[in-house]
Symmetry: C2
Subunit: 548 residues, 2 copies
């Protein structure tokens, strides 16, 4: 749309959104001398960062170097390539078997992430420290949790890449909000104008095809803001647009942690401006309790790791289909597997099944969706025997039939489940899961910090031989979508000839993640937000002033 | 790009491509009085239709009605919705649980397909007849093969929806070329100008934002063609652009039947013009022999149905992962399943394993990639025992390591394979595949027309107890990609607000298939080409003349 004759406001750089990427981009542009206005659709700032545990993945960061942890570039790029394109990865190729543009972006990520944390610290926006954690043996470790993929030969670093803001807090719930508080406070000190309740709906393009501002709807009408240099979108994904979600994603993704304002405004605007898109079928995967989110499609909770040792996740045939202790982003994808015989997504709903000893285990920590002992939650389905449990589950499924393509338990569920549990019990006794390797990788043990006191392999323990037994309906969920308009190394939005759309930048979950859906380790989501927001801030600040 | 000052040529409607969709659109527009120029990048006309078996899926078609086969609209829409959105389908919803825009397009498909065949017949372009075939009992049937999904309760029609051009030929190899010949002959009678060697690379847009022509590169330089009314793209998918293929598709898709000219020109052009895209992660799935296509990424052959009864398809652990007789589009997707424990696409390569009796079976017919007895093909790997076979397969895999992410056989392959075959043999004896239901659905038996004389369930027969045994490396393949710019009911390309881009139409595999990747039955690919090309021809012809 052509620019208006007069503007409601004018600045150098407009940043759309107020999550982590938005604040980083705004801080960097401001630090480099630009006037900055941030426009947030919601009534409060922070976006999804409000509920994040707040860590970002920064290879070869200053703290690692100070601690003597080597993280050479070529090794790190190998890991990223291996995880992002598992079937293309070729250690003998000059671009490791992945597309040249992607390879360059991985190089940029490695080069820039560390620099970004340093500049944010220097300008007083946000210091960074190691994101603390525990080792696979559950010993506190100030250098953080172990890398998610430490068992892969391509991963040469065990600890230290995960960082978090120096808030005085710890890695976990609350750290995201504390980071938002820190960045918001800096924005106010630095003179960044932060407007909430401004839902950006359009971008303005001048006669030269340059993006020169936006229009936002507010409670008091439409506001137009001129951006003399550039507009940076950091407005989150598209999950809460039901049609986009249905068209772009396969199977059913039941819920998301992203706020309701994440309706894909940037995808729509950027496509109208001629942007290329990528990774559009992808999300940052996880799992949620189907019944918690089936109506709202939103939760603050996520089954990062499925709780429990005497616990299995089974399909409608009562058969295990995945390593229950795999990382959330790896595990969540199992729900999208298509069955060639039934011509359906048979894993749309899976069943987290556990025994009564687990239900009554008093240990605290993140058990979601398993409730604490005595905490009532009607999504827990119980039965004294496998047969009774099966009947109760199937009754529940019947109620959901209109949302699942009519999914019901197979007649062999109870019998198979008994067999599945018997086989699992032998694995728990030996400590060796012959089917899915559960608990083998240090990365799995390092995050399954509950249930410490039982079992050879602490991720597995035999089920009690008698009931009651319990089950919860589990489905695919997302932190946010991570596909969208393509960006280049400078975080410029590009068209299908890889030419930048002048004046338009993107970062965070509103753009197509260069990692092709891979979760390089804890902090990969915010790490991408950090890197591309930093690039957007740097290059937006260096843009010439445009005619409006 | 703005229009040139002068044009090389001028017409009412420009059609890009010369496959089935292109000829249908051109014929319809010409039949309604328009001047039409077709621009084909290749040196010969026909696109992928040249190697097609030439059937198109037309619900409630005139021949069905004449034969008294009822195909009510509401039943047909239920089948389409069930197959396209298996986990969203809701028979009690007014739009069957699928997005409203998609529902309207399914209605359009049902309403228009039959009308399109009639108009093409009336204008002398192409008559349509039943696509002949055989029943599941291998008896010749003039009304065609059985519907692919006849076992689903939503499918109410067994025979008759599949039609083909009245060429005098039969459904099978050669029928696609015969159809091209028919349509090309009509184009010449009707005065449609067909230019080969014209690779369209750009579209021109006037000051009002309307598409008014294209530029094509030729051996003699660039040619510009003004389209007074509209431009219709029917230029095929994007498989042969390696970067697009790598970014958009998951895992490895080894080869395609689409011609080398299918490099996604329309995806690039339409995105620059602000088009929305959909179904972009999808292809019309199939399987090919990895070693045949690993260098060229192209083959005329496709493993429509995996040949043989004493045959299984196993993964690197020697375990079956799919119903080997499932339809190609259902079966091919198994290669893209992601393994949460190994963090890799473990099914990038699977192994079609069969015994020597099968290798020596003299029956003729489509066995690809299994060669006829005595026909040498070095992609067949053989061993006298399971251990020897395993060693030989693993040696072959080692050579491909740079293209597969280093995929090798697991140490348990040979032992597991022996067990897999033993279990399969019991299924073959009983006729009942307890793991994958092989050969249960009439649609599977109806297309596995070879190996008729053995076994209770003719899709299974016990393996010989002694070797030699044989194996072929099998990977995912595609007829063509089927994602791209979104179209509406009139085949107008739309932007992300569902507003048409004026003067721009699309049909065939260059657009996002409204079916969301589902293969409703044999002829679904050409059926979509027919319907949306017809709509494009009708509405392009009705467009006003535009300023250039």
């Amino acid at each position: 749309m052509r620019p208006p004759r007069s503007w409601s406001a004018e600045t150098d750089v407009v940043v759309v959104g107020s999550g982590f990427a938005a604040f980083v981009a705004a801080s960097i542009a401001r630090g480099r001398g630009c006037g900055v206005v941030m426009l947030e659709a919601d009534d409060e700032v922070g976006g999804m960062m409000r509920i994040s545990s707040g860590e970002y993945w920064v290879p070869n960061n200053p703290q690692m170097r100070a601690a003597g942890i080597a993280d050479p570039k070529e090794d790190c790029l190998r890991l990223m390539a291996r995880l992002s394109y598992p079937s293309r990865y070729d250690p003998n190729s000059s671009t490791l078997g992945i597309p040249a543009r992607t390879y360059r972006m991985f190089e940029t990520y490695y080069d820039v992430a560390s620099v970004a944390t340093e500049e944010l610290n220097e300008i007083g926006a946000m210091g960074s420290v190691f994101s603390d954690g525990v080792t696979p043996d559950a010993v506190f470790n100030p250098q953080g949790h172990i890398e998610y993929h430490s068992e892969l030969p391509e991963n040469k670093v065990e600890y230290g890449r995960a960082m978090m803001a120096d808030t005085g807090g710890i890695h976990g719930p609350g750290q995201g909000q504390a980071t938002v508080d820190l960045l918001y406070a800096h924005s106010q000190r630095a003179g960044i104008e932060v407007r909430t309740g401004h839902r950006v709906e359009q971008a303005f393009v001048n006669a030269a095809g340059e993006v020169v501002g936006v229009a936002a709807s507010t409670a008091l009408g439409t506001v137009t803001v001129r951006a003399r240099k550039a507009v940076i979108f950091a407005s989150g994904g598209f999950f809460h647009d039901e049609e986009l979600r249905t068209q772009m994603l396969r199977g059913t993704v039941w819920g998301v942690t992203a706020p309701k304002t994440n309706t894909g405004v940037f995808l729509r605007i950027a496509q109208q401006l001629g942007a290329m898109t990528e990774n559009i079928d992808s999300v940052w995967w996880g799992q949620m309790a189907v019944e918690e989110v089936r109506e709202t499609h939103r939760s603050d909770s996520m089954a990062f790791w499925l709780y429990g040792d005497s616990m299995v996740l089974v399909n409608r045939h009562g058969v295990r289909v995945v390593n229950e202790k795999a990382h959330y982003n790896e595990r969540g994808r199992i729900h999208t597997v298509y069955d060639a015989t039934t011509k359906a997504y048979e894993n749309t709903v899976l069943f987290q099944v556990y025994d009564d000893a687990l239900a009554k285990n008093p240990e605290m920590g993140v058990k979601y969706p398993v409730p604490y002992p005595g905490q009532p939650w009607d999504l827990v389905i119980s039965g004294d025997t496998w047969e009774e449990l099966a009947e109760a589950i199937d009754e529940r499924l019947a109620k959901l039939a209109g949302e699942t393509g009519g999914l019901r338990l197979a007649p062999d569920f109870a019998a198979n489940l008994a067999g599945t549990v018997a086989r699992f019990n032998t694995f728990a006794e030996s400590g060796h899961d012959e089917d899915f390797g559960r608990g083998t990788a240090p990365g799995e043990r390092g995050y399954s910090v509950l249930g410490l006191t039982r079992g050879v392999n602490r991720t597995m323990y035999p089920f009690a031989s008698t009931g009651p037994y319990h089950a919860i309906l589990i489905g695919a969920a997302a932190f946010d979508t991570n596909g969208g308009p393509s960006i280049n190394e400078r975080a410029q939005v590009i068209d299908s000839n890889a030419e930048p759309i002048p004046g338009l930048y993107g970062a965070g979950n509103c753009v197509g993640s260069p990692g092709h859906g891979a979760y390089w380790s804890g902090g990969a989501t915010l790490g991408n937000a950090l890197v591309w927001a930093y690039q957007a801030g740097v290059y937006a600040a260096a843009e010439p002033v445009k005619e409006a």
